[in-house]
């Protein structure tokens, strides 16, 4: 920072409308939510105390965190495998994979959840096929439970894991792996001792990104959980629209925003955010 920055910069006037718009439409409602959480139904921290006192709220939070963690591990693992394959694919194959990846971003989560409904139901494709092959004698419970929610969430999050992982992997000099082989390390040793450690920033970034994004899942748990697997977003909506307990809803929303901000901060420490979203490495 130079001394000049303390003076008023007239260019701020040019961005002022945008800043005002963001303040009015974004920051103000959030502040309002924050206030609601400590004023409704009466001033104080009663709503926050529920985290420890109400089994429902504590169970909800725990379930949300657990499902998000499992989703994160599954999506990052699958994403890692796909990224690794893309890295080593021939260039025209990689281009095709990339466009499929991008297309998947455009398919709405609602459509995808209904698609899973078709696949995972009692008379769905998966159970029909397994029954037909004689591998199982009665349909597996693949949805209306946590498994269904996890399948839907993981599938949705895999592309989000791939982007930072691929950006990270593409920044690694392929000669480093060759060097490892020439020094006597097998494929597997090279992977575990050289490649995997070098992709650590990508793994951390992908994990945080997936975890943060999955915290807000609403449609998938609602559809694939069949109302039995409530996560925080769905619960908030029920508090708002059905039981009309705005204070609790606001408290949970505040909790979520705070966790997301904290995780974003950590993420930014490990990797510039632009890199996470597929920008240039380093």
């Amino acid at each position: 920072m130079t001394a000049r920055s303390s003076r008023f910069n007239p260019y701020w006037l040019l961005v002022a409308p945008a800043v005002l718009l963001v303040l009015a439409l974004y920051v103000a409602p959030i502040v309002n939510v924050l206030l609601l959480s400590v004023t409704d139904p009466k001033p104080g921290f009663d709503n926050y105390a529920k985290i420890f006192q109400s089994d429902t709220v504590a169970g909800l939070l725990w379930r949300t965190v657990r499902l998000c963690l499992i989703t994160t591990v599954a999506a990052v693992t699958l994403g890692y495998i796909v990224s690794y394959a893309m890295l080593h694919a021939l260039s025209h194959v990689r281009r095709r994979m990339m466009s499929i990846l991008l297309i998947s971003f455009w398919i709405s989560v609602l459509v995808r959840s209904f698609a899973w409904l078709m696949l995972l139901g009692h008379n769905g494709l998966v159970n029909d096929a397994l029954l037909g092959l004689g591998l199982i004698s009665e349909p597996l419970p693949l949805m209306r439970n946590e498994l269904g929610v996890l399948i839907g969430m993981t599938e949705y999050m895999v592309p989000y894991a791939i982007l930072p992982l691929l950006a990270n992997m593409q920044g690694i000099d392929p000669r480093v792996s060759s060097a490892s082989r020439s020094l006597g390390a097998s494929h597997a040793q090279t992977f575990f001792r050289v490649f995997l450690p070098l992709t650590r920033p990508g793994i951390i970034a992908a994990s945080l990104l997936v975890f943060i994004s999955s915290l807000g899942f609403y449609v998938t748990p609602a559809i694939l959980g069949g109302g039995k697997v409530q996560m925080i977003a769905e619960y908030i909506s029920v508090q708002l629209l059905v039981t009309v307990r705005w204070g609790v809803a606001a408290m949970l929303a505040t909790l979520m925003i705070a966790s997301v901000l904290a995780l974003m901060y950590v993420l930014n420490r490990f990797m510039k955010l632009s890199v996470v979203f597929g920008g240039a490495t380093r």
């Binding site: 000669r175 020439s182 020094l183």
Partner: protein, 344 residues
Amino acid sequence: MNAGPAGIGVVFSNVTKQYGKMTAVDGVSLDIRAGEFLTLLGPSGSGKTTLLMMLAGFQDISMGDILVGGASIAATPPEKRNFGMVFQGYALFPHMTVRKNIAYPLEIRHRPRAEIDARVDEMLEMVQLKGLADRHPHQLSGGQQQRVALARALSFSPRVLLLDEPLGALDRKLRAEVQDQLKDIHNRVGTTFIYVTHDQEEALTMSDRIVIMNRGRVVQVGSPIELYEKPRTVFAANFLGKSNFIRHEGRIFALRPEKIQVFAAGKGQGQNRLCGTVRSITYMGATLKLMVEVENHPTIEVHVPAWHSAEAFSESQAVELCWSNDAQVEVEGGDGDEAGARSA
């Protein structure tokens, strides 16, 4: 210092590499002697890296075979070949310290801890990096990184060391320094060095033998003196050092610029003479470069010692160029590379 096992011989037998329809290496046969410093020299795209990668095991051989110590290695994976390799750009492990980098091949081989530590210290001493053992590669200069790569590639006492333009990224002065160190290390460890470069000066000063390559083929193999004094083709004469080509009765003779004497017109003496006019004079420190225009002949380049002769020549001066018969070497032309060789 412990020299480890001595180098081993490598034989390329009619080795060919095709990428689709394109032939990158075309029927190369080479007999590399145990312990020698052999340089592959050639213009960009002549197949040097491809040849090295086939030897290292990172590229398949399309035809032919490579023998190491008499046995074919075509089916051996890279990690079983036990060659050290210094990559262009060094390819150090960025997440490991210098010490860890150098210890890596030993740890992979499950050597005892004490032996690893001793060996790493020995290597650090050899490349003069004792004080930097705990740094990471990005905290080192280019020359230091290069030496770490060398120490890493030599730490497990490979019997062959492959180096692909290891000095390409260094500035001129540093390069000369590292060249001396490399040569010195080669003398001490006795490993067979196979060195790729497109820098002819580097090839001349370091090698026991040089292989000149062009378009995937071996043009000529020999000691630096042999290649410089007795080039067999126009390409070889032009790629290693500079050369004029004198055409006489359908034959071509290569004539090095420094083997020509310059006299004032009419005062010439010698077995071969040409009269001409000085077109340009360039002072190059030790020598003076004269471009002399001769009738019915491409311009001839002459190098004369600069000392005391800078004033003796002027532009448009009429001169007589003279040289003895043993100054010129008959070469084969016809590979179409007369013009292209210099620019490479």
